[in-house]
């Protein structure tokens, strides 16, 4: 059922899955804001641990790995380059052949990695345990334009539909003798006959789809109603207020720190 739609959603039976999407957005805000307000390694580690526990409760912990993977290259690059060349580098830590890694650069890279992992894990809770359609519908109920809601939902389904035609176009152009390997100029030239039909096709489709939407009341001035009942969880308000309170407490802590 989810093959047709782009999504990281992992259907599971868990406490976390039963929490509403808006509360999860509040969690992201808190998980990003708190380490920003209190930039210490301890706070970052605590936040990361909390996210890890939530992901374990949701039975989706292992699914975070591919998400982290996207940032792995740049994180490694940061560790190497800042460890070697950061302007503040003073205390050499170890040597790899001719390269000297410094303590300041490496500890900076560690802090940065923690921050990034923290953000990714907080987002992962939302995207791995929430159906995109539920998320978008919740946002529309909270005041997001239904038209933007439509656009977001349809992207998720239209991309897989269009990528399905990608293979067909590749095969068709290859059988007409198009070269897709070899020198850069050859490969660059091959790009046009591949992307051209996809673009034409999709633009022609937009005209027909726009008409089909118009005759189904897409521009209706009447306030929209919903077939599905609102996704509400019992503790939504408590969760949201607790998270706001935590952010305020972090701010207070920081200000007290200044006053001392």
């Amino acid at each position: 059922m989810y093959l047709n739609s782009m999504s990281l959603y992992q259907p599971r039976q868990s406490l976390i899955h039963r929490i509403d999407p808006i509360s999860k957005i509040f969690y992201i805000l808190a998980a990003v804001a708190v380490p920003f307000i209190l930039p210490t390694v301890t706070v970052a580690v605590i936040c990361l641990l909390v996210s890890a526990v939530i992901l374990l409760l949701a039975k989706v912990f292992r699914k975070v790995i591919p998400l982290v993977g996207f940032s792995m290259v740049i994180l490694l690059s940061v560790v190497v380059i800042q460890g070697l060349f950061m302007a503040e580098n003073k205390i050499p830590l170890f040597r790899l052949g001719p390269l000297i890694f410094y303590q300041e650069g490496l500890s900076f890279a560690l802090g940065l990695s923690l921050r990034v992992l923290n953000i990714i894990s907080a987002f992962a809770i939302l995207v791995l345990t929430t159906k995109p359609s539920d998320l978008i519908e919740s946002l529309v109920r909270k005041g997001l334009s239904p038209k933007i809601g439509y656009v977001l939902s349809s992207v998720l389904q239209i991309i897989p539909q269009m990528t399905a035609t990608m293979g067909t176009i590749m095969d068709a152009q290859r059988s007409r003798g198009m070269e897709t390997e070899g020198k850069l100029a050859v490969r660059l030239k091959a790009f046009f006959p591949l992307i051209g039909p996809v673009v034409m096709n999709s633009l022609i489709n937009t005209r027909e789809r726009a008409m089909a939407l118009e005759v189904r009341g897409f521009n209706s001035p009447v306030p929209k109603t919903f077939l599905n009942q609102e996704f509400k969880s019992a503790y939504s308000k408590i969760i949201q207020w607790t998270l706001i309170l935590i952010i305020i407490m972090a701010l207070v802590w920081r200000i007290l720190g200044w006053l001392k």
């Binding site: 990281l8 740049i74 990714i120 992207v155 991309i159 992307i195 051209g196 489709n205 937009t206 939407l213």
Partner: protein
């Protein structure tokens, strides 16, 4: 597109439906570039095309939604770079309206401007997130050399982003221009948002 039309917030259904198509074109452009092992991303053709067709507002929306969708379905960090995509959409939309999408040479120039805009907007984000790095091997190698020679982070970071963006954005805008010129007028007229019905 008339002056009034460029910034009109009254979005037509046709131009709204253009957004999912444009985001999909971004995605497919990137996939084809990967399949052909091109040394370019080519992941903004849809956004650039939508900006040429329907103006800066739709272009900016395309950019934002593109990154939101990437953030939701692949890499959460790409949410932050929505700002860069929005800036690209705005830049192309404004230039297209001012007649800068009318020849291949002009498109080349638009590509340079887009690369500049992209690098200027991305640099603060890169600095905030990655101390100015981009994760691109060539860009980061340049960054490492510049930093090792005691250049300021902002300059090293800007050049790190710009050397990668320049060829990519020039190619993206020129390819988009090529496609744009080939589209039938009957289709492109739909995305203009200030059409009036004449009375016969």
């Amino acid at each position: 597109m008339s002056k009034k039309g460029m910034w009109s917030l009254k979005l037509t259904t046709a131009s709204l439906v253009l957004i999912p198509a444009a985001v999909a074109i971004n995605f497919i452009g990137k996939s084809f570039a990967g399949v052909l092992k091109l040394p370019l991303w080519l992941d903004a053709i849809g956004t650039v095309l939508a900006s040429m067709l329907a103006g800066p507002i739709i272009g900016a929306l395309c950019g934002a939604i593109n990154n939101i969708i990437y953030g939701l379905t692949m890499d959460p960090i790409s949410f932050v770079y929505a700002i860069t995509s929005v800036a690209i959409g705005l830049a192309v939309g404004i230039m297209a309206y001012n007649g800068w999408v009318s020849s291949l040479w002009k498109a080349f120039f638009v590509g340079i401007v887009v690369a500049l805009v992209s690098a200027v907007v991305s640099t603060p984000i890169n600095i905030g997130f990655w101390k100015g790095q981009t994760g691109n091997i060539w860009g980061d190698a340049l960054y490492a050399i510049l930093i090792a020679h005691k250049n300021p982070v902002w300059l090293s970071s800007f050049l790190d982003e710009f050397v990668v963006d320049l060829p990519d954005k020039i190619a993206t805008v020129m390819i988009s221009y090529g496609i744009f010129k080939g589209l039938p007028k009957k289709l492109t007229v739909l995305y203009s948002n200030d059409n009036k019905t004449e009375t016969l």
